[in-house]
């Protein structure tokens, strides 16, 4: 494989002007997805640092790497983290985690923290699945639906396409919006066949942006099926990598008839699950210490 267009940027970040040493409770959340691994550190319930990277072939290593990277340059050591919750696909394979909680609970909790108590519906589009989650004002899950049968409507699906069309994944969304006229969505639901369908369109001489538009709207309508099934309620937010794909988000908003709350600058939508995990970690830590 020559250039890997599907590769999204891996990065780490420490939030400015925060002194973790001053914090009473430092907890961590590690979200090992099938495609990306995220490590989040919070201090007294405030986001402090995080990292996002691709999941390797071993979860424990990925967890370790992600956490090390999040710690990088903070002067903090793993031992300074008092409690860690693992979540995501590899949640039980996080060596240094005290407990595992599913990504469904964690995403709801994280979304509640990022966007506030008005959030009722969370759409999380992960690497190989897509979840529609209902939650209450405390971020507690009340219902959820999950699609992990079909790549249409998953991050991988989008990667496959970026790759196929040699368009860097971050540019897929904007490019798909640059069309004058919205084309028919690709009809195949299966990504692999949507792919061959797209190849057909390119052969017919369609420009890339048209093909991307056709795929993004197919993906949007695919996701909307999930949302319609669970009956999407306001406020509605999107977590996971796809939230960054304006091409899908805009079309999705058109289908369901209202907008998702905008992304918050300091919170990458990919780390919602990690944040949720870290918040559970804090609560669990406090619980155990009250008990003790």
């Amino acid at each position: 494989m020559s250039k890997e267009y599907w590769r999204w940027p891996e990065y780490r970040r420490t939030l400015p002007d925060k002194d973790w040493k001053a914090a009473k409770i430092v907890t961590g959340g590690v979200d090992i997805g099938s495609v990306s691994s995220k490590a989040v550190i919070i201090t007294d319930g405030e986001l402090y640092a995080y990292s996002i990277m691709r999941t390797g072939s071993s979860s424990p290593d990925s967890a370790q790497k992600a956490m090390d990277w999040a710690l990088e340059g903070t002067g903090m050591k793993l031992d300074n983290i008092q409690y860690t919750v693992g979540t995501g696909y590899g949640r039980v394979n996080v060596p240094f985690a005290n407990r595992a909680i599913t990504e469904i609970a964690c995403h709801a909790r994280g979304a509640n923290y990022i966007w506030g108590p008005t959030v009722r519906t969370v759409l999380d589009m992960g690497g190989q699945d897509c979840k529609a989650i209902h939650c209450d004002e405390r971020g507690k899950v009340t219902a959820f639906l999950m699609n992990d049968k079909c790549a249409a409507g998953t991050g991988r699906g989008m990667e496959v396409f970026a790759d196929l069309l040699s368009v860097p994944i971050e540019e897929v969304g904007p490019m798909s919006l640059s069309v004058e006229k919205e084309p028919e969505p690709v009809s195949s639901t299966c990504v692999v066949f949507a792919k061959s369908e797209a190849v057909g369109l390119l052969r017919k001489g369609w420009p890339k942006d048209m093909v991307l538009a056709a795929f993004c709207s197919a993906m949007a309508s695919r996701i909307s099926e999930l949302l319609e099934k669970i009956k999407v309620e306001k406020d509605f937010v999107i977590t996971g990598g796809i939230a960054k794909n304006i091409g899908v988000v805009k079309r999705l908003e058109e289908i369901i008839g209202f907008k998702a709350l905008p992304m918050k600058e300091q919170f990458d939508p990919m780390i919602a699950g990690g944040i949720g995990a870290a918040l559970f970690a804090k609560a669990l830590y406090e619980r155990e210490h009250q008990a003790a």
Partner: protein, 379 residues
Amino acid sequence: MQQNLFEKFHEWYENRHEYAREWKEKTRGKVLGYFCTYAPEELIYAAGVLPVRILGSHEAQSVTEPHIFAMFCPLCRDCLAQGLQGRYDYLDGIMIAQCCLHMRQAFTSWRKHVPLDYSYYLYMPHGVQTPRAYPYLRGELADFKKSLEEWTGKKITDQDLDHAIEVYNENRHLMKRVYEFRKERNPKLMGLEAMEMVVSSQMIDKEEHNQALKELLKELPERNVKREAGTRLMILGSEDDDTEFLRMVESTGATFVIEDHCTGSRYFWNEVVPQKDRLSAIAARYIDRSPCPSKDWPERTRLPHILKLAKDYNVEGALLIQQKFCDPHELDIPAIRSHLEKNGIPTYFLEFDVTVPVGQFKTRVEAFLETFQLPTDLF
């Protein structure tokens, strides 16, 4: 691990074929495989024939591809695969009591491609809510009885029927008593154990099964259960003997306390109410039993029945599982879900295939359980 009172049933479940072969050795009798639990086993049993339910083996296979179009359910293909692969080579015959289109295909393809000296298609009515079904089925049973007599060369007397009815009723009665112990705050048995108990009863001589049940009932009250019950779950939907799945769920801090499956309560819930005319009595039992969705119309009698089970067994949440492409259940599940939810019982839906992706299902089940289990002070 708690002392294992259910070992016998587990062995029977695991070694169903060995059992049947030995039974033949021992008794020199005939074995009749049946599809779907609408089969009037009392008649077969009365004929001195061992009725054995045909089920799948939950292994990926590719032998049924030429026989059944992929839009039909995994169960009917898995069952047919057993026949085509010779796993039931000890069967002297097969029969089906008319049920869904899916299973009928497993039967007709088996009949065509697996050598047998006997097969019978019983035109079991679908209209189990019309009183006209009673005399009709009584007549169909008479035909079946006659056919069995011709096959075995042995007359089926009223005494034979009475005995069969007695044995079968006792089996149903005993299993219901075992189920009582699932109502306890900390159930004396797990869902997996219950399932293996019921399914094994579909494969072995009921009299032997009754013996085992009596043994079990002696010790069960004293059984000391160390493990926590966790969330009390109900499971319902299509045919389900997916031990791997049940084990997975019960390993995540939950217990199945009741189910509505043809591999569970639905199979044995009601008994034959004796009448002077034995065939009428048997016909009535199969018409009045808790139905498969393919026969549950025009009224939806399953809704009150399922809700009652949920209440009686103090269920906290329900897992609805459905064999992929199982139309009858697809046609009931939306109504059942809303009925349970309306009555305060959260539900979660899962679609089954020949093999289930336990990894992915684990996440969903855990997430569903977390909605009960995560302490509220964590929020």
